[in-house]
């Protein structure tokens, strides 16, 4: 058996598998890329070969056009495996967003699993995370501090709906990541019995249509237009976090600024962004989920990619695991 540390390297482009000669979520165009999910910091355009789930490939085509790759797409359904220069690659559900996957690599008797971004909570828009046994588990650490404990999604949605009842003359503008978070929030609103039309910033429309075409029912959606903007008092409008304070929002009536993000747990952070109604809704694992996952996966060794790696490395060590930080840069998820 060859330990993964002897065949996995961190290079400027990203994590590289030497015998397979492919990268995982590379930041720059490469020959061969395994893409765990469609968020822009993980899925870039311009690779020659792209290995990803059919859903992730569909998202990449929707975002970057049908020519986002220069040679070939290699769709892999969950659990299906492929041999790349003697490395066996398979993808497994990560529960982060539609199509998100963990990448399992097996070479010379050793296995390593890259979690990508993941969560353990129920999410009707994607397949739930599946623990995959391995020798080395590579995990994200976006919310790896014990102060991050995401409340139940239903509670946060209930707060949004309560605010809507309390302030029926204010347009409730919710900042949410356009891919994944937006659709999950809409699904949760529907599950809570909110069947009104939800209004969308232009940047979210195509992705919502894509989700619907892939079988996720989002109910009645309308774009915000110059004509209807002034009539949206008492309505829910979703926009990317960056548009919350943009000129775009000026035409909406009496805006009440909300934001759906795991970061909203930290008061000063919400306040700094001018958020009046912070909704702690995250597509990443919180502290308890991260710890639970280390136990469920059961790997004797853990590598931590991006986020608050020092706390997770400390905790894993306390749990008797071998742990180290990879110090990957470029994946910090501010808008999450």
């Amino acid at each position: 058996m060859t330990h993964p540390r002897d065949w996995i390297e961190v290079r400027p482009e990203g994590v590289w598998c030497r015998p397979g000669d492919f990268f995982i979520d590379p930041m720059q165009p490469v020959e061969s890329a395994v893409v765990t999910h469609g968020h822009a910091d993980h899925a870039r355009a311009g690779h020659r070969h792209v290995f990803a789930t059919p859903e992730t490939l569909a998202i990449m085509r929707s975002r970057y056009g049908d020519n986002h790759f220069s040679d070939a797409e290699h769709p892999l359904t969950y659990g299906q495996s492929v041999d790349i220069n003697g490395v066996r690659l398979s993808l497994h559900p990560a529960g982060h967003i539609l199509g998100s996957a963990q990448a399992r690599l097996e070479y010379d008797g050793a296995t390593i699993v890259f979690s990508g971004d993941y969560k353990r909570r129920a999410d009707p828009t994607c397949v739930p995370f599946e623990p995959v046994p391995c020798d080395v588990f590579v995990t994200e650490a976006t919310f790896a501090l014990p102060v991050f404990r995401h409340p139940p999604l239903e509670d946060e949605i209930a707060r949004l709906l309560a605010s809507l009842r309390q302030f029926p003359d204010r347009c409730h503008l919710v900042g949410a990541y356009a891919l994944g978070k937006c659709q999950r929030v809409i699904c949760a609103l529907r599950a809570a019995g909110y069947l009104e039309t939800v209004y969308l910033h232009g940047a979210m429309q195509r992705l919502c249509e894509l989700y619907q075409s892939l079988g996720v029912d989002l109910g009645a959606l309308e774009p915000v237009t110059a004509e209807n903007a002034r009539t949206l008092a008492g309505r829910i409008v979703l926009c990317p976090p960056s548009a919350l304070k943009d000129r775009w929002s000026r035409r909406l009536p009496e805006v009440l600024t909300a934001a759906a993000s795991g970061w909203m747990r930290i008061r000063a952070r919400a306040k700094q962004k001018g958020v009046e109604l912070p909704l702690v809704i995250s597509d990443h694992a919180d502290w308890d989920e991260l710890i639970q996952t280390l136990t469920d996966v059961g790997a004797p060794e853990v590598w931590v990619t991006h986020g608050r790696d020092d706390a997770l490395v400390h905790q894993a060590t306390q749990m008797g695991l071998k742990a180290r930080a990879l110090h990957l840069i470029g994946y910090e998820d501010d808008a999450e």
């Binding site: 501090l145 014990p146 929002s249 001018g274 400390h314 905790q315």
Partner: protein, 525 residues
């Protein structure tokens, strides 16, 4: 306790004063006594809980959380109360009932010190994270939720439909949970009587002198004094003690024990707080050194000795003299100061003048080096009245100083202005680089703000979160009251009260002023 937690949470995130006022009014209307009184005391910072200490909270959390994780978490969150609120390992059980706020406050006050940690831990175990935050903030004292004691008094005034001055004059004479106050505000009881206490007496304020008022100003009718650039204070000494208040009634006795010690007779005086070294009066900057210190050391008081220029007397030897005329009160004040000769308290001199032209000359004679910011004109036959009556007192500030500065950075505003770049940092030339000298966010109209916002968006070089660096091409005529040397600013200067006087769309950045322009205007120590 749950209602109070919800109130704190909403106040924290509510950006507007109007919104905060509405939240507080709702709370006062729907919350029974004595809970609401304790809530008011907590928000006003008037509740003393000597045993609920930071050290106790630290000890509780250290016993429950790994020390490395605690340190990393505290470092990340920044605030201890919030860190502990999030970290506390609570059984995520079903929502449990909590005691009422007054029960919690009374228990925090009366539980013996040795048993207090157990009581607090027991409560934290039953709380959600926002509830824990509220409880820990009660102990921490400083809430930092953007509600000042002044705003709270205005809300109480609105709640009971009473003038805010009456609330202010009562404030230091009543104790939490203020039952007699609420009885009075809700029309069930008489106005609380406070005599044997050290209380704040609401102050008299002046209107700016407009051109149309000039004809009124004659030497027989109006006396003239300097207007000082210090801090308006009320110093109180009675049979039961001494106190120093700001003009809004905040008690700042603790920061100025030296000033309090000076007043060696029973009186309530109105005056200006300044730093005074022998004959030399310090700048506003000097005074700011003292303001921040809750308990200044002896060395600090020696380096920045505080003194008072007295200009009025409200009570003298227990007698209310506010109904006397200005001339009579001034005579009383002068006689008392001559008799008792208090160290560090001097009389604000009167400025004799023959006609209005002489006053104008006096005003023009004020040089930039002084701590004088203009003239006060006070009607000789006027009584001392709380509030801002029209006619008896006028303030006549010296003309502002102007420089042409170049816009360097723009930051998004808050509240209604949150989508506008409305906070502007500007600089002056030093060689061929610009050094920032100040920041201003008013002085322009709404229409001008729209144009500025557009300009910023079209001329951005870099973005740093809510801040944009812009092309160094737009010139502002900036008005300010004074300029002081400052070690905190890279340029070496700090402007007092800067505002945008005019936007010079027509002017080239190269023609803006150089840093030397401030040198000539600087206030000399």
């Amino acid at each position: 306790m749950k209602a109070f937690s919800r109130l704190l949470e909403s106040l924290y995130y509510e950006p507007s004063t109007l919104g905060k006022t509405r939240l507080l009014l709702d709370y006062l209307r729907t919350t029974p006594d004595p809970d609401r009184g304790y809530a008011v005391a907590i928000i006003a910072g008037d509740l003393s809980l000597p045993n609920f200490r930071r050290a106790m909270v630290l000890e509780l959390i250290r016993a429950r959380v790994d020390s490395t994780l605690l340190a990393l978490s505290h470092d990340y969150v920044g605030e201890l109360s919030e860190t502990v609120a999030h970290l506390w390992p609570a059984p995520q059980a079903e929502q449990s009932d909590l005691p009422r706020l007054h029960e919690v406050v009374e228990a925090l006050r009366h539980t013996p010190k040795a048993q207090l940690p157990d009581y607090v831990a027991g409560l934290l175990d039953r709380m959600t994270s926002p509830e824990r935050w509220a409880l820990l903030k009660i102990g921490a004292g400083a809430l930092r939720i953007g509600v000042s004691a002044r705003l709270l008094k205005q809300v109480l005034a609105k709640f009971g439909d009473q003038p805010v001055e009456r609330i202010e004059s009562l404030w230091h004479g009543i104790d939490p949970p203020y039952l007699p106050l609420f009885d009075w505000l809700e029309g069930r009881g008489p106005e609380p009587v406070v005599t044997e206490r050290l209380t704040f007496t609401p102050v008299m304020l002046a209107h700016p002198l407009e051109a149309r008022d000039h004809a009124l100003i004659m030497p027989d009718t109006y006396a003239a004094e300097w207007k000082y650039d210090g801090i308006r204070v009320q110093v109180v000494h009675s049979g039961i003690g001494r106190a120093l208040f700001t003009r809004t009634g905040d008690d700042i006795s603790g920061s100025f024990p030296d000033v309090l010690a000076h007043l060696n007779f029973h009186a309530v005086l109105d005056g200006e707080l300044l730093v005074q070294r022998g004959e030399k009066t310090g700048t506003f900057n000097d005074l700011q050194q003292r303001l921040g210190r809750k308990a200044p050391s002896a060395k600090y008081m020696a380096d920045y000795p505080a003194a008072i220029v007295a200009y009025d007397v409200l009570f003298l030897e227990g007698e209310d003299v506010r109904a006397c005329s200005y001339d009579q009160r001034r005579a009383l004040l002068q006689a008392a100061l001559e008799r008792h000769r208090p160290e560090g308290i001097r009389l604000s001199p009167q400025l004799p003048y023959g006609d209005f032209a002489e006053l104008e000359a006096l005003r023009a004679s004020v040089d930039n080096a002084s701590v004088i910011e203009g003239l006060m004109l006070k009607r000789r036959d006027s009584a001392y009245v709380a509030g801002r009556p029209t006619g008896p007192w006028y303030k006549w500030k010296i003309n502002p100083k102007l420089v042409d500065a170049v816009l360097m950075y723009a930051q998004r505003g808050s509240g209604k202005r949150s989508s506008f770049y409305s906070d502007f940092t500007f600089g002056l030339w030093a060689g061929n680089q610009l050094l920032p000298v100040g920041k201003a966010y008013f002085g322009f109209t709404d229409a001008e703000l729209k144009d500025l916002d557009k300009w910023v968006r079209h001329n951005t070089l870099n973005s740093f979160g809510p801040v944009r660096e812009v092309k160094k091409e737009l010139v502002f005529e900036v008005a300010f009251d004074a300029v002081n040397p400052s070690k905190r600013h890279k340029s070496g200067y700090a402007l007092r009260f800067p505002r945008i006087n005019r936007i010079r769309w027509d002017k080239h950045a190269q023609e803006a002023d150089r840093l030397d322009a401030l040198e000539a205007l600087v206030a000399v120590r």
